[in-house]
Each structure stands twice: as structure tokens, then as C-alpha cells.
């Protein structure tokens, strides 16, 4: 999953990280984003990852990877340890949505969250034609998807309001990684947020 799409997601995040800042990437996979933040932005990076093969790949990439399950929260991580806590295209796979968002802003000053927008027009078209969407950003069949939560930009923002989270910045991209500025909940395939308290 390293299409133009994901790189665009990473481009945005990289732009928000200042040299020397501490970043925690939740569900860091092989550490590609962290590697980039370390190499290009001079960040101090840590990742959390559950899957054995990804942990191994992250170690090979020289990443400070900590094997663990996000569903169990971030117990052990001290309050306000990180400048940014990133959850890139992973929120939809987490069962305890509110808990993980709360935990991100406990251990970090800023939460960076990206997720596929289920209300993207191509997804709506798929459902309209009677099938669950399978696309670049929702690449799984319904029976093998790791995604547990299907939600839209509007849904997410109403949760943020309910939780009292402050949206510092919202960027929306289409499935070619281009910025979407109008009708974002319809034309946007991926949403990327900076959240604070």
C-alpha cells in the first residue's frame, strides 16, 4: 500500500513535524512514515505495531518500534510525551474509537488522524449499485477487511465535537492524492486531521 495516495498522506504529515519533535506513530507498519520523518524532518520517532512481520520490517528499517495492541490503549506511555501522535489510516480498524483518540491526546500534544472517507462519491456509487466499495483506500472485500468502523468526514467531526476535541486543521485528498477544497465529504477519499484539546 504505497500508492500516490499514501504518499500524499505522508507529505501532509511530514509538513507538520518540526525538527527535533517527538512523534509516535500508532499502527506504524514497517515504519515507512517514521523513517521519512526521521530522515527528512529530523524527528525523534517511535512506533506501535501489533503484527509480527511488520515489527520485524520496522526493526530492519531502524525504527524504535514497540510491539503492542492499540485496543489496550497506550498504558505505560507517560502523559504529554510526544509532540504528535499519528494514527494514519488505522482509526477505522480500532474498536475502541473514543478511547484511542483520548489516549492519543493524553500522551501527545497533538493527534494526527487520517482515515478513508466512506462518503466519498465513488464509495457512494458502489453502494448505490448494490456492492460494498473496494477502492485504493478501501482495498478489502467485506469478508476480509480489517476495517471495523465505516464513517465519514461529517461523522468524525461530530464525534470530535462530542469529545471536545479541537480540530486545528483538516486536509482532504481525492483518490489521486490531490487536495480537495470543496464538497469535501463528497469529493474527498482521505481525510487528514490535526486535533488538540
Amino acid at each position: 500500500m504505497t500508492g500516490a495516495f499514501e504518499r500524499a498522506d505522508f507529505d501532509l504529515i511530514a509538513g507538520w513535524v518540526q525538527p527535533g519533535e517527538r512523534v509516535l506513530d500508532l499502527g506504524c507498519g514497517d515504519g515507512a512514515l517514521l523513517r521519512r520523518l526521521i530522515d527528512e524532518r529530523g524527528a525523534k520517532g517511535y512506533g506501535v505495531e501489533l503484527e509480527d512481520t511488520e515489527v520485524l520490517a520496522a526493526i530492519a528499517n531502524g525504527i524504535n518500534v514497540i510491539q503492542g495492541n492499540l485496543e489496550q490503549g497506550l498504558a505505560g506511555f507517560d502523559d504529554q510525551t510526544f509532540n504528535h501522535v499519528v494514527l494514519s489510516r488505522t482509526l477505522q480498524t480500532v474498536r475502541h474509537t473514543e478511547r484511542i483518540l483520548g489516549e492519543m491526546l493524553r500522551v501527545g500534544r497533538e493527534a494526527v488522524v487520517s482515515f478513508p472517507n466512506f462518503a466519498y462519491w465513488k464509495n457512494r456509487m458502489a453502494v448505490m449499485s448494490g456492492r460494498m466499495p473496494v477502492s485504493e483506500d478501501l482495498p478489502y472485500e467485506w469478508f476480509d477487511t480489517p476495517n471495523l468502523r465505516f464513517f465519514t468526514i461529517l461523522d468524525f467531526e461530530s464525534l470530535c465535537q462530542k469529545m471536545g476535541l479541537v480540530i486545528r486543521e483538516r486536509q482532504v485528498l481525492d483518490d489521486a492524492g490531490r487536495a480537495v477544497t470543496e464538497e469535501q465529504n463528497f469529493l474527498g477519499s482521505l481525510a487528514v486531521y490535526r486535533l488538540g484539546r
Binding site: R22, K44, Y46, D52, V55, L56, A58, I59, A60, G62, I63, N64, V65, I66, Q67, G68, G76, F77, D78, T81
Partner: protein
């Protein structure tokens, strides 16, 4: 099959007295050690493998004197193995107070001309590391590419980063803990009581009586062994199976687990020294680097300069993964470099000795990152 073939132990003598944490002084001592692979010209490829409670210097290979005696961690050492002897120079050393050739309770006390016995001082993890540092000097190794070990060995690997921050580039801390729990200490003390109350112990001076406290040592090992395994593994390996001919409603061996533990106890009592066992368990109990830092492990670890690989095992209930994570989170708190892998394994605390492909891949991958 051993990866490195026949190996021979070597002995280093140290005549400069070693001041011990507990207050005593060892006027002179020997350390027995083995090495595998070649030290490169820059002397930058050395890895120290620290042993656990019952381990020793013979980490890998077949002893020259006894080819059937294969090192205790042979499966991880050799050409192409995680501790790749084509790339690294591996050092194994028997710790002070041991019973495999380094100066210990059975050695002669120069002051009396008799075995030290009970008078051999209690040695700590810090003391071992100090002695190992002198061995490093002796071998011309200014800084280790890595220190590593499992269990009590992992504690030494960690202590190295605190006692000699500039001399350790990486520490591999496996199936370890930042300090023992009350339950851990309780198990250790029952083991010690088994030895101390054996009539053949003679207050630790049994050598002069021509006897050994075999019953106590055997019990201590049986108890320890239970804590090294997992409930699942015991159920799978032994279950409630009864040995043939048993079912006698008596106290002879009936269940297979009894047979196994007694065998392990007998085997261990036949070769191990009771005074060494007492001291090794005390070293475990005393280990607590955070003690001098108001129980703040992060503060204690702050002076480490090494990168860390910490590994825990899912069914290890002696030093559970939670204990490994305490180390990890203290390092993260400090912004230090650490990777943590939690390995699925049925083998309990003993998992660190097993030839598990993923576990070995984690170690190999981390070590490959080290520049020489």
C-alpha cells in the same frame, strides 16, 4: 547441530582487587571464558553474552574435552545464525561466584587455604559487570557492539549500559525485568531455604565434610524449573499422564511431571554448587537499578547511551512481558532508542533459549543494523 564446532575455554587471571557492592573485596580472581568468531581490527564487533542463573561461559559449540557438551545457547550462535560468527566476535564468561571455572565459593580462599564456602562474598549484578569490564580490558575491547542476555543475563546486559554507558553501543535485554517482584523473591527464598536447611549444607562449609547438599539443591531446582515453564506447556507436554506401572496410591513417581522434575533436579544437583545457587538468586533479588533514583526507572536509565532491543515472551509468568514493557516505557520516556518485540511462545520463561524462527529473526535483524 552446533554451528561452530569445537571450542575451548580460556582462563584470565586478575590480580587487582575487586571492590564489591556488598562491601567485601576479592583480592584476586579468575574468569573462565570462551570466544567465537574473530575480533576485527577496529575491535568494534564484540558481543558479550551474559548468562542466567544456571548458565556459564560455554555459550555455544562443543567442548573440546567433551563433544557431547554443547553450549547452552548454541542455537543462536554460529555462521549465518543471529549471533553471526562471520561478523561478530562473541564472548561468553562464567560470572564471579560461579561453579564452572571462575572464582567462586568452591575456590580456595587465599586467607585460609581452604575453600571459600560460606565466606565467599555475596556478589551482585553490578559486581559481575565490573568483573566483565576487566575481562573486556584484558581482551582489548573498549566498547561492546552489544551486550545481551536472557533473564538474569538480560539484567547484566542492561546494567552494562548504566555502569559503563560509553562502553556499550547496544543492549539486548531478553525475558528480563527491572527488578524482582515479591513473588519472584518468594520463590527464590523457598529455593534457598531448601538448600540452607539441608543437613549436608553445614552452613556452606560442606566441602570440608566431603558431602554436598544434594537434596536441597535438587528441591531448589525443581521449584525453579516450575517457574521456567508455562501452565499450557506443562499441560501439553505432561498433562496428567501416569508413568507405566504407577497408580500405586503412594508417594513414588506416578505422574510424568513428577518424573520430569525429579530428573531435572537430580541432573542439576549433580553438577551445580549450592553456594553458587544461593548467590545467583541473591543477585537476582538485589537487582534494582531504580532503587537509588526514588524508584524512578526512567531516571535510572537516563545515563544509558546504548540502543536497546527488549524482548518479552507471551507465556513468561516469571518475568512477564509487562515487566519488559516497564523497561521499554522508561526508555521511551527518556527519548532513548528502543525496539520491543513480544514473542508468542508456549515455553514460558525458558522461551528465550528456544529456537523460535520469529524470535531469532528479531535478534538477527536488530544485530544486522549494527554498524561495525
Amino acid at each position: 547441530m552446533s554451528g561452530i564446532g569445537t571450542v575451548s575455554a580460556q582462563l584470565a587471571h586478575f590480580s587487582e582487587p575487586l571492590r564489591l557492592k556488598g562491601g567485601g573485596v576479592l583480592p584476586a580472581y579468575d574468569l573462565v571464558y570462551e570466544t567465537y568468531g574473530r575480533l576485527n581490527a577496529a575491535k568494534s564487533n564484540a558481543i558479550l553474552v551474559c548468562h542466567a542463573l544456571s548458565g556459564h561461559h560455554h555459550v555455544a559449540g562443543q567442548s573440546a574435552e567433551n563433544p557431547g557438551n554443547v553450549g547452552w545457547w548454541d542455537n543462536i550462535v554460529g555462521p549465518g545464525r543471529p549471533l553471526d560468527t562471520d561478523r561478530f566476535f562473541i564472548v561468553g564468561v562464567n560470572n564471579l561466584g560461579g561453579c564452572h571455572g571462575s572464582t567462586g565459593p568452591a575456590s580456595t580462599n587465599p586467607a585460609t587455604g581452604k575453600p571459600w564456602g560460606a565466606d565467599f562474598p555475596v556478589v551482585t549484578v553490578e559486581d559481575w559487570v565490573d568483573a566483565q569490564a576487566r575481562l573486556a580490558d584484558y581482551l582489548g575491547i573498549e566498547a561492546w557492539a552489544a551486550t545481551m542476555g536472557g533473564s538474569l543475563g538480560g539484567m547484566q546486559a542492561m546494567q552494562w549500559t548504566l555502569s559503563y554507558p560509553e562502553r556499550v553501543r547496544h543492549a539486548l535485554v531478553i525475558a528480563a525485568t527491572p527488578k524482582l517482584s515479591a513473588e519472584n523473591i518468594a520463590f527464590n527464598d523457598v529455593a534457598r531455604q531448601a538448600i540452607l536447611t539441608d543437613p549436608d549444607f553445614h552452613g556452606g562449609h560442606f566441602y570440608e565434610h566431603g558431602v554436598r547438599p544434594l537434596r536441597g539443591l535438587r528441591l531448589a531446582r525443581m521449584l525453579g524449573h516450575i517457574t521456567y515453564l508455562s501452565d499450557d506447556q506443562m499441560a501439553e507436554k505432561f498433562g496428567r499422564r501416569i508413568k507405566s506401572g504407577a497408580g500405586s496410591y503412594g508417594f513414588d513417581v506416578e505422574f510424568e511431571i513428577e518424573s520430569y522434575l525429579r530428573y531435572q533436579g537430580d541432573k542439576f544437583a549433580g553438577i551445580f554448587d549450592a553456594n553458587t545457587y544461593l548467590r545467583m538468586t541473591k543477585a537476582l533479588d538485589y537487582f534494582d537499578p531504580a532503587l537509588d533514583y526514588g524508584d524512578d526507572l526512567a531516571k535510572a536509565l537516563a545515563r544509558a547511551r546504548a540502543g536497546f532491543l527488549v524482548i518479552g515472551f507471551s507465556t513468561d509468568w516469571r518475568f512477564s512481558p509487562e515487566r519488559s514493557r516497564e523497561i521499554v516505557h522508561a526508555l521511551v520516556h527518556n527519548g532513548q532508542d528502543v525496539a520491543y518485540a513480544e514473542i508468542e511462545s508456549v515455553h514460558g520463561h525458558d522461551s528465550f533459549l528456544m529456537d523460535d524462527p520469529h524470535y531469532h529473526a528479531v535478534v538477527a535483524t536488530y544485530l544486522k543494523r549494527i554498524t561495525l
